[in-house]
């Protein structure tokens, strides 16, 4: 009888596929590499967002292997349009059976990797390793706190970015406006941005704008404004959404007002902002240190930075990145050595860079970050990068729940409607809060 046989074969094939599909997803599965005895190899997963990530990780790995000739480091680049999609792709990689020892994560991913039981906290290493204290003392406390979840320190931070305001010095000079001071307020900011918004071709509509923000990310987008209004998008334990509070409403209303008054154009993705800023169509925007890796190699140096203006309060919004040790690692002690190496002076200097080839983030070690201005890497006010976290209050914790990618895309989807005047600010935020209720949970 052919038919029953076919049915059996089909059932077996389906079952086999089910087993294949699901076998790889267990985090408890045995690592595929060789056993711990005598094996001195490390596999590292990192976000390959561009040539800088590739060369930076390669340089670190090469330097580590030079210092430890018996160790082989394998780098596994993972693509992604942002941190969220990078985590998704890295998770797919792990589900397919890879068992890396370390994986680059940002602060936005801290809750995600912790809640999925992926990483091995480093509390024990910090307690017993004699070198650890000196390292931690040289790192701003905010950077340690940013990677601490429920008492578990997930990783040392090798590099980070704070959100600061970039301003085009040529545009300011042409308009006869003084550079902003660190203590400027929202009113000062708005007045400055208004003066910089112009109709240069006389068609009755502005074609040069005072300020814009990224439409595709919340950290360089609305977060600095929310933080300086005294709010956050989640509760301190990152278990409850707080997107419709008076503070958030105030911040979003302020930004909406900038669009309505012709001070800001319709929000656009960050990569478009870079171009508009360089050609003077936008005089100011917010970001971390990463834009200089685009600006300086392109020969654009007519910019400087300043803190975000003060609202009802001031808090520096920042995000860092580190190499946490994964639970799948066969060599956690060796992985810890690698993590320590990523914050060594030798490696941290790479993030300083040179005027022609600057680093794209801020070194975590204070002693190294202080050398940025000394080696002459623009902008002129680059000491502000580290000072913003060392000398000012910070927004901790990150509003980054375990489902960060969904959280961010949900926030952005509702903000799109608010900024396009398709819903009012209170109604839009109320709707956002309702949807986030099922996303921000513990």
């Amino acid at each position: 009888m052919n038919v029953p046989n076919r049915k059996v074969a089909l059932a077996c094939a389906t079952a086999a596929l089910a087993v294949t599909a699901l076998a790889g997803c267990s985090s408890d599965a045995a690592p595929s590499g060789s056993s711990a005895s005598g094996d001195k190899s490390l596999e590292i997963v990192y976000w390959n967002y561009g040539p800088a990530a590739e060369s930076g990780n390669k340089a670190t790995a090469d330097a580590f292997m030079a210092a430890h000739p018996d160790v082989k480091v394998t780098l596994t680049p993972v693509t992604g349009e942002n941190w969220g999609t990078y985590y998704a792709n890295a998770a797919t990689l792990i589900a397919s059976g890879k068992h890396p020892d370390l994986m680059v994560i940002s602060g936005e991913g801290a809750q995600f990797v912790h809640s999925n039981n992926l990483v091995q906290p480093i509390n024990a290493y910090l307690g017993k390793d004699p070198e650890a204290k000196a390292i931690v003392d040289d790192i701003a406390p905010g950077l340690i706190n940013g990677f601490t979840v429920k008492g578990d320190v997930l990783t040392l931070t090798y590099g980070w970015n704070d959100m600061v305001v970039y301003y085009n010095t040529d545009v300011f000079e042409k308009a006869g406006i003084e550079p902003p001071a660190a203590d400027w307020t929202w009113d000062d900011f708005k007045a400055t941005a208004k003066k910089l918004s112009k109709d240069t071709d006389g068609d009755g509509k502005p074609d040069q704008y005072g300020f814009t923000w990224a439409s595709n990310e919340i950290f360089p987008g609305i977060m600095p404004w929310v933080a300086n209004a005294g709010g956050n998008l989640t509760s301190d334990d990152v278990c409850t959404a707080t997107a419709d509070t008076p503070q958030v409403t105030k911040a979003v209303s302020f930004l909406k007002g900038l669009i309505d008054e012709g001070i800001s154009p319709a929000p656009m993705p960050m990569s478009d902002v870079f171009t508009r800023f360089q050609n003077g169509q936008v005089a100011m925007f917010g970001a971390g240190r990463w834009p200089i890796a685009t600006f300086l190699p392109a020969g654009f140096k007519a910019f400087d930075i300043q803190l975000y203006p003060k609202g009802d309060t001031y808090k520096t919004v920042f995000g860092g990145a580190g190499y946490p040790i994964l639970k799948s690692s066969e060599n956690p002690d060796l992985a810890w050595e690698y993590q320590k190496f990523t914050v060594s002076n030798e490696i941290e200097k790479q993030y300083v860079g040179t005027p022609g080839k600057p680093g794209d983030s801020i070194p975590s070690r204070r002693s190294v970050a202080e050398t940025i201005s000394k080696v002459g890497v623009p902008p002129a006010n680059s000491d502000l990068y580290y000072n913003s976290i060392d000398k000012y209050p910070t927004l901790v914790p990150y509003p980054a729940p375990a489902k960060y990618s969904t959280f961010e895309s949900t926030v952005l989807r509702h903000l799109q409607q608010i900024f396009a005047s398709e819903t009012s600010v209170p109604d839009g935020l109320k709707s956002l809060q309702g949807e986030l209720g099922g996303i921000v949970t513990c």
Binding site: T14, I94, A266, M268, Q281, R413, Q416
Partner: protein
């Protein structure tokens, strides 16, 4: 003059072309055929059938990529009916897909006919290249450029419209225009393929038939409607089916241009299920969306095949 209906083969005609006794097949053909087909069969099994079966299995599980999967039966399919956004996303997908289909099939035919009209060969070559070039460029790259051009306040499109006295249009930021932008950009990119296929179809129509119609005194419209269209109907049907499937599956353009927004106004089902799978890490539910969406496309294609019998002529 003949009509399209009289061009259909009569039932009795089949006997004329009916198969006679099977000719003896040379030995070794089967092995050669298998050898040629093997790469395609393997590719199909590995990259189409196996993942499809995997997705089907996953749709009965809760799985977040990183922990053990849990069998949940039909729960993921039941969730489809409780998903407050899904129907809206189906609506926006259908709207954009049908518009893209219409542009490709109708405008594509018009442009192909124009390209087959009399003109210097260098000009014909220029137009053909211009229409086909976007088709071979990456969809993401195309969308990135258009995103820059369609910016409401600083984009070139609104600048040019402004010179003509048209107020700035929020191409990417308003619910009314965001899907239109996706339709425009996708159609601009894909219409070259439709034109190419149409041109091949037009060139296969015997010139004698059109010349005979001219001798009979048929005008341009009559020639098109009574000769070109019926003989081109298999090509049109092919393009309707292919463009339907492709336009319902667009991803890169809405992803890059509008991120599916504002709200869900330009979001497609493929983008929605991608977000559920790799944003929420809800692989089971995303698989259920994928399976049901595939079924919708299968039904849609079956309906098209059924209707095609009424208007498609195979000479």
């Amino acid at each position: 003059m003949t009509t399209s209906s009289t061009l259909r083969p009569e039932a009795g005609d089949r006997t004329v072309t009916g198969p006679g006794p099977a000719a003896p097949r040379p030995r070794g053909d089967g092995a050669a055929a298998l050898a040629f087909l093997t790469p395609a069969i393997i590719t199909f099994l590995v990259f189409v059938l196996a993942p499809t079966a995997g997705v089907l299995v996953l749709s009965f599980f809760n799985w977040n990529l990183l922990s053990d999967g849990t069998f949940v039966g039909l729960d993921n399919f039941a969730r489809l009916f409780k998903d407050g956004r899904l129907l809206g996303v189906y609506g926006s997908t259908t709207y954009m897909a049908l518009a893209i289909l219409a542009v490709n099939v109708v405008l594509g035919l018009l442009l192909a006919v124009l390209l087959e009209s009399r003109m210097p060969s260098w000009l014909r070559g220029f137009f053909r290249l211009s229409f086909l070039f976007p088709f071979v460029v990456s969809a993401s790259a195309v969308a990135l450029i258009w995103r820059f051009l369609l910016n409401k306040d600083l984009g070139l499109v609104n600048y040019l419209l402004g010179l003509a006295g048209v107020d700035r249009v929020d191409w990417l930021g308003s619910s009314a225009f965001a899907p239109i932008s996706v339709i425009m950009v996708n159609s601009w990119k894909t219409i070259g393929f439709s034109i190419l296929v149409y041109i091949a179809g037009l060139q296969s129509i015997p010139k004698e038939m059109r010349e005979a119609a001219i001798v009979d005194g048929a005008g341009a419209w009559t020639r098109f409607w009574r000769i070109t269209f019926p003989l081109l109907s298999p090509t049109i049907f092919f393009l309707v089916v292919i463009n339907t499937i492709n336009s319902f599956q667009i991803f890169a353009e809405p992803r890059v241009l509008t991120q599916g927004g504002p709200g869900d106004s330009s979001r497609t089902i493929v983008e929605y299920l991608y977000d559920r799978a790799f944003g929420d890490f809800d692989l089971g539910y995303a698989s259920a969306i994928g399976i049901t969406f595939a079924l919708v496309l299968v039904v849609l294609t079956a309906v098209q095949f059924w209707f095609s019998r009424r208007w498609t002529f195979y000479s």
